[in-house]
Amino acid sequence: MANPTNLQYSKEHEWVRIEGDTAVVGITQYAANALGEVVYVDLPKVGSSTVFMKICGEVESTKSVSELYSPISGEVIEVNDGLTSNPEDINGDPFGTGWLFKVKYSELPDLMDSAAYDALTGEA
């Protein structure tokens, strides 16, 4: 499972994709695999603010609940409503249909590139 090279990564296993002044946020395949099947996801509200590396929601699998840390500071402008009925998208396509939310950001935090994240998670 290759970590896409066009994304940036946090040490808490979230990914960020920059699209102009918008950042799309999700969790990585590594995180999804470690969690097990996601059955519920609690996302920040549209209009709320997220703060870099602060808790902004939670991801619940059959076996565990994990807090979601925002990999970027900004204002939430959209959340992935499809996850309400299909939380398993987070396991099936974490870098695609399993995205979590989008924020409008002003400052890019210091995140890892895919090579650094590969190294962190033991991917060759």
Binding site: N33, G36, E37, V39, Y40, E58, E60, T62, K63, V65, P87, E88, N91
Partner: protein
Amino acid sequence: MKQTALFEQHQALGAMFTDFGGWNMPIRYGNELDEHRAVRNSAGLFDISHMAEIRVTGTNAGAFLDFALVNPSSAIAVTKAKYNLICNEQGSVIDDLIVYRLAEQEFLVVANAGNRFNVVAALEERIKGFTDVLLTDESDDWALIALQGPVAAQILQPLCDQDLTGLKYYAILEANVSGIPVLVGRTGYTGEDGFEIFTPVSYAAQMWQLLLNAGGERLLPCGLASRDTLRLEAGMPLYGQELDLEHNPYQAGFAKVVKLDRDPADGNNGNFVGKAALEALAATTPDVKLIALVGEGRRAARHGYELFAPGGQTAIGVVTSGALSPTLGYPIAMAYISSSDPSLLLAGATIEVDIRGSRQPLSVTNLPFYKRQK
């Protein structure tokens, strides 16, 4: 951490592992929901070799077990099995067990992995004063493989020299499975039909592979994650959650397992360990009771979450096990709750759970949550 004889098989299947009772066990191989559904709809294969097997033999084997456990084993017919509890003198639960009667003077006691040494120690203490009875901890000699699900019999029968239609639920027989001498119990921890196959440890890998091959696409290897959601749906207790040394059988809803009225001529004058305490407990209303709860939505009430009367500020109970039921699609839980307001124990009553800071209503229901169609 200890490993079972099947550790390499699990690794080869890409299992993720977890510490369970001091054992490094597969928690899942792939998707635990697929594993859960495989057992409900077809079949699943579990390595439960961490479980403890204790053989009790001799003229007084039955009388000894009658004294040591709350449910008399001498009443078990040969080739049958019974669910049992081992309690201490205070009536608290040391472990829950299955006792199989292999022969007139031969029993096999299966205990939980994490309680192996507590159970063996308690039995060794209780055997003092008995003659002609031998206790042998055979846990290291056996691999235990559970084949569970509606097509379990279809998978096992062609490999087995014994007619499995004659093997009823909670019964056991000696058999030969593709040349391997085993004991096959029709027992399980999933709420489905199935077998627990006691396999000499030297044949463990061979048996595992044999069953996987025979099952083919009908069978998935399953880890402890699915085992836990399966047993929860079936309303079965897990030692360490529903049962522990803090609780007695009456609180846990196992009054029927405790046989207080014994035959005075049973060799123990009708006595057994914990009897006095259990008699006293049976005569009073338990202060807490194990109840079953169902919710709506997808957020599960999990182990350790506190329960409240609607709008109440003081916790009246705590969840012992909870999950979003993969079969039913809604949250299910078991919980200990104070019996001080009996109306809250009744099916249909509403109780609130604090899910990480937010209150969610749950309804009291009856166990099991899931019952297979026969």
